[in-house]
């Protein structure tokens, strides 16, 4: 069990993290334009007068900050060394605040948004998918399927934008931006929580709308195989109540691939969360990323990349490690 299941998962985890971090290291160095030079030209374009000696000094400092001094291999080693100590360098626009501090501030917002929308969409998608298969002739079930599947392919960005226009502008029920109202103190009190919920509603809704589709589809495909199994036919023949068949016989067995799906889709959904935050100006990692893009804060973008790779693969590892508890077939094999 340990040898056959846990160790390969751990090896996979470390390879994924390693490949991802290497990608983040290699990409900027493979591309033709140099972040240091573009930073310099941006400074010059702002109309600052700098004499050549000062430019040279700034260039050196920037190279040091970005970890660009020395040979390629040396840079690679020092890159990993810095990562191990949790040092992602300073943010360039909010100098000298470390990137790590900025990410730590916005991480809880993203994690909260992700967890809530994932749980809701997973539950609804799974249950609706199971019901769709259990009642193949119901008109309502077919209508639900049509709507869910029709919305699924639309990009996160478009759905979020349409929701924003509809419910924050045309019918202003929800706020347009932010994580909580101005002037509300962060803390465990009714006003803050209410404000939090109101601001989170549209971002969560936009993510749920798109994600339901995936869970629904997978549940439908798995459950439609299960429904033909002998034990389901037997349960129906012996006259068990329909609810019990649907939940205990069909759904319980179709739920395991849903958990694998959880792990595999995490990267995609995480990207979606970033996009959603940008549209709703929600103060999480996505919004941080957006402000980093606007300011050309290259170090911050790198840091967010590193964090998202480690975060998503760690979450996936956790799902994989919990998996045997839920699937007796893995446990006893």
């Amino acid at each position: 069990m340990l040898k056959k299941y846990y160790i390969p998962r751990l090896i996979q985890y470390f390879t994924v993290v390693f490949i991802g971090l290497t990608l983040v290291f290699v990409i900027p160095r493979l591309l033709p334009s140099n972040p240091v030079e573009s930073q310099l030209s941006r400074m010059m374009a702002q109309g600052q007068y700098l004499d050549p000696a000062a430019i040279e000094q700034i260039r050196e400092t920037l190279q040091q900050l970005y970890g660009l001094e020395g040979g390629m291999f040396q840079q690679y080693i020092s890159y990993f060394k810095r990562l191990f100590t949790g040092d992602l360098g300073p943010s360039f626009t909010q100098f000298p605040t470390p990137v790590m501090t900025l990410i730590k501030q916005s991480l809880p917002w993203t994690v909260g948004l992700l967890l809530v929308s994932l749980t809701i969409s997973w539950l609804i998608g799974t249950i609706l998918g199971g019901i769709r298969v259990s009642f193949p002739h119901s008109r309502l079930a077919r209508l639900i399927e049509l709507v869910i599947m029709g919305v699924r392919p639309i990009p996160y960005y478009i759905v979020a934008l349409v929701l924003l226009i509809l419910f924050a502008f045309l019918v202003p029920v929800f706020p347009m931006a932010g994580g909580y109202s101005m002037g509300v103190k962060i803390g465990f009190n009714a006003r803050f929580i209410l404000s939090l919920l109101r601001h989170a509603f549209l971002p969560v809704l936009s993510m749920v709308i798109i994600e339901i589709g995936g869970w629904f589809l997978q549940m439908r495909n798995v459950a439609s195989n299960i429904i033909e199994e002998d034990y389901v036919v037997y349960a129906e023949a012996s006259g068990l109540p329909k609810a019990k068949i649907v939940f205990m016989y069909i759904m319980r067995n179709a739920i395991i691939p849903q958990i694998t799906g959880f792990a595999l889709n995490l990267g995609f959904i995480f990207g979606g969360a970033l996009i959603t935050e940008i549209v709703f100006a929600y103060p999480g990692m996505g919004y941080l990323l957006y402000s980093a893009i606007l300011a050309g804060d290259y170090n911050l973008i790198m840091g967010i990349n590193v964090f998202s790779i480690i975060g998503v693969s760690t979450a996936m590892l956790v799902v994989d490690l919990v998996y045997p508890l839920l699937d007796p077939r893995v446990r006893y094999s």
Binding site: I19, G20, P153, I154, P155, I158, F268, L294
Partner: protein
């Protein structure tokens, strides 16, 4: 091939819808070549006109005719989708086939790499690339960049298909009758893969168009090239929502939704056609 399309068109409403809309968009893409204005230039027409006979969808705040701009945007977005999908298809097919046929250590190493590309969140990485390349990011470069990242999932799909084809009876017959491996792959196996490639290509085009919209809306592409994404970007930059210039902001949004739905219906229709069980049901219904 044409018989299949005709059959699907007659028997599957989704296919008929998707095919018609896509054909319409392709025609628009060709017509956009005859635009009377330069779509990159600003202030070629009076600003902020409501829809009229002369400007069927009105004009925007930077002095461009919205209808012609939308047509050029459709052309460019479709083009980008085709470029990126073509690149990622080549990678996915090569990786999938090689890995499926070679097996062994090669297969294992390549699959770990592929899995990493599936798991790693690509959106922030694409942003990293786009930020650095910003100045030199034209349609082709953007297509290549997106294409280089969109192959992993489909490579796995092709590989699993090859693994099952390898075990079929007719493969053994071909091997024993002395056909060369290359010949078996091209004449015996490729026909099985082609429809799957088509369905995944359409899905990939959907993903690419969505990615383009997202990157452009962040200002991370060449903003002078009219695409669906840059149209939305400029509309938002000029506060089209607050000023209630619905003809400006909603045109690209609606085009995006309709285009993606059409492509999606095509792909589901094709992949259902590929599934022998649903094909049997279709035949029974007739």
């Amino acid at each position: 091939m044409f018989a299949v399309i005709r059959d699907l068109y007659r028997n599957d409403k989704r296919f008929a819808f998707g095919f018609t809309v896509l054909a319409f968009f392709v025609i628009i893409a060709f017509v956009s070549r005859f635009a009377p204005y330069d779509m990159r230039a600003w202030n070629t027409v009076p600003r902020d006109l409501r829809p009229s006979l002369q400007h069927p969808l009105g004009t925007n705040s930077i002095g461009q005719d919205i209808m012609w701009k939308a047509m050029a945007a459709i052309k460019n977005s479709l083009l980008l989708g085709v470029i990126a999908a073509a690149i990622s298809r080549v990678i996915a097919i090569v990786v999938g086939l090689l890995s499926g046929y070679k097996g062994g250590l090669f297969d294992r190493v390549v699959m770990v790499l592929t899995d990493s590309f599936i798991i790693i969140p690509l959106f922030p990485i694409l942003i990293l690339i786009a930020t650095i390349l910003r100045s030199s990011l034209n349609m082709v470069v953007l297509g290549i960049v997106i294409g280089l990242f969109g192959w992993a999932w489909d490579a796995r799909l092709f590989r699993s298909q090859i693994l099952s084809l390898k075990e079929r009876e007719f493969t053994r017959t071909a091997v024993f009758s002395g056909l060369k491996t290359f010949k078996i792959v091209t004449t015996e196996h490729l026909p099985y893969i082609v429809p799957l490639v088509m369905a995944t290509t359409i899905n990939n085009v959907i993903w690419v168009i969505g990615m383009e919209v997202t990157l452009s809306m962040l200002g991370l592409s060449n903003l002078n090239t009219p695409t669906i994404g840059t149209m939305i970007y400029w509309a938002l930059q000029y506060q089209a929502i607050f000023l209630e210039r619905w003809n400006w902001i909603l045109t690209p949004v609606i085009i995006c939704v309709v285009l993606i739905l059409a492509l999606y219906m095509l792909s589901t229709s094709i992949s259902e056609y590929l599934d022998p069980r649903t094909r049997l049901q279709m035949i029974r219904k007739r």
